[in-house]
């Protein structure tokens, strides 16, 4: 505000920030689409219902994958369901997402993917060719990620009870010795990197639904991020604080979660964030912030300041990471908040997504 922040306004703001920093409660009377959007409602469901119900230290860490000690080693385990609509879109299919999504959750824990399980829920009447096409996509994605599918399950539900097909994959990975990652490890001064331009996946899905009569060349960014993580760990291993793949809720959700978990502030420089002009244009028309749009092959890396340049070089050396960029840094104040220095020269808050502008994105 140009006018000075009065004491009273400051007091109100402090109360709000204290409330925000607390663990969210789940107080809703029914599930709405917003609970699946990866924004604040999802957070309330996870923090307010699921984590307390299954209370254990591994889950409490709220990482993309849980870590367990096994026979003297550390393994990571994760699971993910895919309900994307349509099941085929520019740059990928539901099968690609099902493999890459789970592989990426493992990779974000600093773990090399070892094996996947695959669970299919199919709608009565689904053409066999559609299924064959998806099975081929799953096989190809798994081969490309170098991870075998070692078990599976198939269920069929009556027509209308699901939309074509849903997929659930569970993954097991071996945590790399070079990784010391934690959402709570961020320190003031740390640099914030993204592995490429953001918002491509969500925009591709949105346009593929054909509801907007907009044409573009945007393709989903779905890819396995393990090669990128492998290279990063090799380049700057101990200086890497935390990794997140920016799926539902986009980069903004990831940054807010990390800022809260580490009790740091973040400042993001809008002009440094790589966004494809078509994505920027579509988001502009639809009134959506690209920072809230889902990605399926982009990671956010927080690194110690002295390692930022090497980390950026490492990211850029891997296929798919050519457009990696440093977009901001961690600060001390205001704690738990993410601020955006706008390209125009002002400053604003960048909060998590509220509501669900884009259901069934993955």
């Amino acid at each position: 505000m140009s006018s000075e922040v009065s004491e009273r306004e400051q007091k109100v703001l402090n109360i709000i920030e204290t409330a925000r920093a607390k663990r969210q409660k789940f107080r809703d009377t029914q599930i709405t689409m917003a609970h699946g959007a990866g924004g604040k409602a999802t957070q309330g469901l996870i923090e307010g219902l699921l984590v307390p119900a299954f209370a254990n230290d591994t889950l409490e860490a709220m990482a993309d994958a849980g870590t367990i000690s096994l026979l003297g080693g550390q393994v990571a385990m994760t699971t993910d369901s895919f309900v994307v609509n349509p099941i085929v879109f520019p740059g990928g299919t539901i099968g690609d997402l099902a493999v890459n999504g789970t592989v990426n959750d493992l990779a974000m824990a600093g773990s090399r993917p070892l094996a996947l399980t695959l669970s299919l829920i199919l709608e009565e009447g689904l053409p066999a060719d559609t299924l064959k096409h998806q099975v081929a996509a799953i096989a190809a994605a798994a081969q490309s990620a170098g991870v075998p599918i070692v078990a599976g399950d198939t269920k069929v539900v009556p027509r209308g009870m699901c939309d074509e097909m849903y997929i659930c994959t569970t993954g097991l990975g071996l945590i790399d010795d070079r990784a010391t990652l934690s959402p709570a490890a961020l320190r003031p001064g740390d640099k914030i990197l993204v592995s490429g331009r953001i918002g491509d996946h969500g925009t591709a899905i949105m346009l593929a639904r054909g509801e907007f009569e907009l044409d573009s060349d945007i393709e989903s960014d779905t890819q396995s991020l393990w090669p990128m993580v492998d290279t990063l760990l090799g380049g700057v291993g101990p200086s890497l604080r935390c990794l997140r793949d920016a799926t539902r809720g986009g980069v903004a959700s990831v940054l807010n979660e990390l800022a809260r978990a580490s009790r740091v502030a973040m400042i993001i420089h809008e002009s440094a964030v790589p966004v494809h002009p078509s994505v920027a244009g579509a988001c502009e028309i639809l009134g959506i912030d690209p920072m809230h749009v889902a990605n399926e092959g982009r990671l956010v890396a927080i690194v110690a300041p002295e390692a930022a340049d090497s980390a950026l070089a490492a990211l850029r050396s891997v296929p798919g990471g050519e457009e990696a960029a440093e977009i901001g840094e961690c600060k001390t104040e205001p704690e738990g908040m993410v601020l955006m220095a706008t390209a125009f020269g002002g400053k604003r808050v960048m909060d998590q997504l509220v509501g669900d502008p884009l259901p069934r994105i993955c």
Binding site: E9, L13, Q30, K331, T342, F344, G345, V349
Partner: protein, 371 residues
């Protein structure tokens, strides 16, 4: 994005900001109202306030289409959505506005067939592909969106679509502005005029503001340079002792507006004797309903709606926020009882609402310099 990025040029912004600094008198406090929610959104989204001198204060006005919808109308919408055989369509923001017992989003989860659309034409398309169902479009907005609703209704009528209906909540901008200017609560030095509305109605309808109330106004576009430029124009008027309507947005806004849009609106709509505004009460001749020629497409005639006036929740101060009497953070429930994820009032729902804009974008202590 060509033709947009030019109006977001930070270097030009700094030049304008410097000139604005030269126009303000030390010791004088300037209070300008941006009428339109689109401006409120831009101001917070780009951090435009950061470029203004400390004694230029921007006050948020009533021009947010979702914000002005009273609770009783949300209840009416939910009642329509629950009718058998109805597909209810509306804009996304409307889904989360609380009625007296839940929102449209809740009604959807309870089984009502409610679909989000980006334009009335999408709703008409849904009607055509579901001929056995009644499709209702909840129309909201000022003169900006009214022409597209009108054109859609005209098309539905001419194509003989029998299952498309409109729940009309369109409102007009001048009556609430007059109500604001007549209110003793608010002392303003000038207005940033609504650019999108003016593309339709033109600049002439705002002439009463300088003439009858002695306040300068600059109709403005929505990019950050537009807003700064409009502030520059108003300050220049004040400095030179002028008081008139100026058109900053001349690249889009013709003085006489868009005659074809006004024509189709006149064909499809007629003024309601009065319409209730959230927190502002009934304002006469401020709302539109379907004209007699289009009565067959009026959802409120096709179905009985409760039409009950519901008092706003006691704690909610949306009315004062919409009138610019209080700042969002001054509301008793701002950020505590009322948040974007669990809103009490409309201003916290729409991206154009002052409370949502302040909460989502503006809420941090600028005093505490980021270290």
């Amino acid at each position: 994005m060509k033709h947009v990025d030019e109006f977001r040029d930070p270097a030009l912004g700094r030049v304008l900001a410097g000139e604005i600094l030269g126009l303000v008198e030390a010791g004088r406090h300037y209070k300008f109202m941006e009428v339109c929610g689109g401006h409120t959104h831009s101001i917070y989204k780009y951090g435009i306030d950061d470029l203004l001198p400390a004694n230029v204060e921007l006050v948020h006005g009533p021009g947010c289409p979702v914000c002005v919808i009273p609770m009783g109308r949300v209840d009416d919408a939910i009642a329509l959505a629950h009718e058998d055989n109805v597909i209810f369509t509306c804009f996304g923001d409307m889904l989360r506005v609380p009625g007296s017992e839940g929102s449209l989003l809740d009604a959807k989860a309870e089984g009502a067939d409610i679909r989000m659309v980006y334009s009335p034409l999408d709703a008409l398309r849904i009607a055509k592909s579901n001929p056995e169902r009644d499709v209702i479009f909840m129309a909201i907005g000022f003169e900006t969106t009214a022409p597209s609703t009108a054109l859609t209704l005209r098309r539905a009528k001419s194509e003989g679509v029998k299952n498309f209906f409109c729940m009309c909540n369109h409102v007009t901008i001048v009556p609430p502005l007059r109500a604001l200017l007549d209110s003793p609560d608010l002392r303003l030095d000038g207005f940033i005029g609504p650019g999108h509305v003016s593309t339709v109605v033109g600049v002439r309808p705002f002439e009463f503001i300088p003439r009858e109330y002695g306040k300068p106004i600059a109709v403005a576009g929505f990019e950050p340079l537009d807003v700064l430029h409009a502030i520059h124009m108003i300050l220049t008027q004040l400095k030179e002792g002028r008081c008139e309507v100026e058109n900053q947005y001349a690249r889009v806004v013709p003085y006489e507006g868009n005659p074809r849009a006004l024509e189709v609106m006149a064909e499809v709509f007629e003024l309601r004797p009065h319409f209730e505004w959230r927190g502002m009460g009934f304002i006469s001749q401020s709302g539109l309903k379907l004209s007699k020629a289009y009565a067959d497409l009026d959802a409120e005639l096709r179905y009985a709606v409760p039409g009950v006036r519901v008092a706003d929740p006691k704690a909610c101060q949306c009315g004062e926020v919409l009138k610019g009497v209080i700042k969002p953070w001054e509301c008793k429930v701002f950020g505590s009882g009322c948040t974007p994820e669990r809103p009490i009032g409309t201003c916290m729902v729409s991206s154009e609402g002052a409370c949502a804009a302040y909460y989502n974008y503006g809420r941090f202590a600028r005093e505490r310099e980021v270290v």
